[in-house]
Amino acid sequence: MKFPIYLDHNATTPCDPRVVETMIPYFTEKFGNAASRNHSFGWVAEEAVDYAREQIATLIGADPKEIIFTSGATEADNLAIKGVYEMYAQKGNHIITATTEHKAVLDACHHLEQLGAQITYLPVNAEGMIDLKQLEEAITDKTILVAIMYANNEVGTIQPVREISEICHRKGTLFFTDGTQAVGKIPVDVNKDGIDLMAFTAHKMYGPKGVGALYVRRKNPRVKVTAQMDGGGHERGMRSGTLNVTGIVGFGKAAEICRLEMESDNARIIKMRDRLETELMKLDEAYVNGSREHRLPQVCNISFKFVEGEGLMMGFNKNIALSSGSACTSASLEPSYVLKALGLGDDLAHSSLRFGLGRYTTDEEIDFTIEAVSKTVTRLREVSPLWEMFKEGIDLNTIKWEHH
């Protein structure tokens, strides 16, 4: 077994060696600018981009012309939200999103609020799902966009995308989804799912960092976004800038591998994820966060009550890399806003760990993780005054805590 074990695949994934191999010639001999129309270097690059565009479009059931390359999902989120806001300003200024969205979506919405947009932030239930009735009621004749993520990055909850898009289209508004965590991991089909715009990125699907895409529907309806980057008019005028040909080639290969191997990868990963979860849930006072039913196959998020997440990770972070919803691991001192939106108290949010499995995770690594996490939880509970009080039957809510 090689250490450290990587269980943070929702943050990023390693490049598949087959992806790297495909990319290498495009750094050196095939270095052309895809926009150079009058020599073979340009043609070779353009051809490679076209091929990748097709590979990526096939993965999501789109037409290649509907793929707009960006620097990543954050840029694609921004382009979708700000681009629609500008393009459809005549129709209205209202956007609906949810409290558990990624910061790239929420902060883009906050930005538009400063410019006069009306934003509705839908709450989610304990599983992390929005309420469809609430969504329908929130849509007005001024609503230009509904932005609801496909699957959540912290708990993996998959939103009822088809029902959401049905409501949006019946009510005459566009539907944008941040597909960053879903595309390449579970089947996503822009037509069956009724998606008008979708952001996604290569580095979450074993491709390189620094390249992503925005899917923009061309038919039924034809969707347009105002460019947020002005320049040479690349990408049908929606995103200027010399294409990252090497990255795009890798993105394409990564998408193709995901399409071909998703089923077999998932069958393996879900077994390991479930075993990890079952074993860890044997610990007292452990809680799975989010939905166990509507969830990405490779993630599980568990709170171990009465121990703090960062303290917990310190017990094994020489050997295992994963994330916590604890405040101490973030720049701010606030615990995860996603877990809080699910209704978790701050104490449980502080006690959470996110396990993100991936293509190269092995059974051996899962065995090691089960043992290391179980041992550390047990050891730290022996050091925890809260655990002692709990064992004595003291209700922690009756104690007047001194907040500092």
Partner: protein, 135 residues
């Protein structure tokens, strides 16, 4: 963020983990922090009433590695000190000893608060005025 060797050592081998009889008149208990904030420290001292020397100290902490290390270190420092000497322990001494980074200074503040709270509990139990809180 890398932890100092001293933090790691206290985390892996915490000193004086445990519980003293909080109903005893010679024991002072300080419980500070809040679960919502991600750290709670309980620090206890046993005082010899004749000499005012702290003969034993125990802690339990819910929190990150730096919080556990700060309270573990505090119990080590407390043992053998008189109550007055213990009052002089400053959070910056803990920061220095454990080489805590700026984002972890609050852990040392909490440990100092826990010491003061334990001493005040002991004083109140024995009919003395609590020491004023300077935080």
């Amino acid at each position: 963020m890398a932890y100092s060797d001293k933090v790691i050592d206290h985390y892996e081998n915490p000193k004086n983990v445990g519980t003293l009889d909080k109903s005893s008149n010679t024991v002072g208990t300080g419980l500070v922090g809040a679960p919502e904030c991600g750290d709670v420290m309980r620090l206890q001292i046993e005082v010899d009433p004749a000499t005012q020397v702290i003969t034993d100290a125990k802690f339990k902490t819910f929190g990150c590695g730096s919080a556990i290390a700060s309270s573990s270190l505090a119990t080590e420092w407390l043992k053998g000190k008189t109550v007055d000497q213990a009052l002089a322990i400053d959070n910056m001494d803990i920061v220095e000893e454990l080489a805590l980074p700026p984002v972890k200074i609050h852990c040392s503040v909490l440990a100092e608060d826990a010491i003061k709270a334990a001493i005040n509990d002991y004083r109140t139990k024995n009919g003395l005025e609590p020491i004023a809180d300077n935080h």
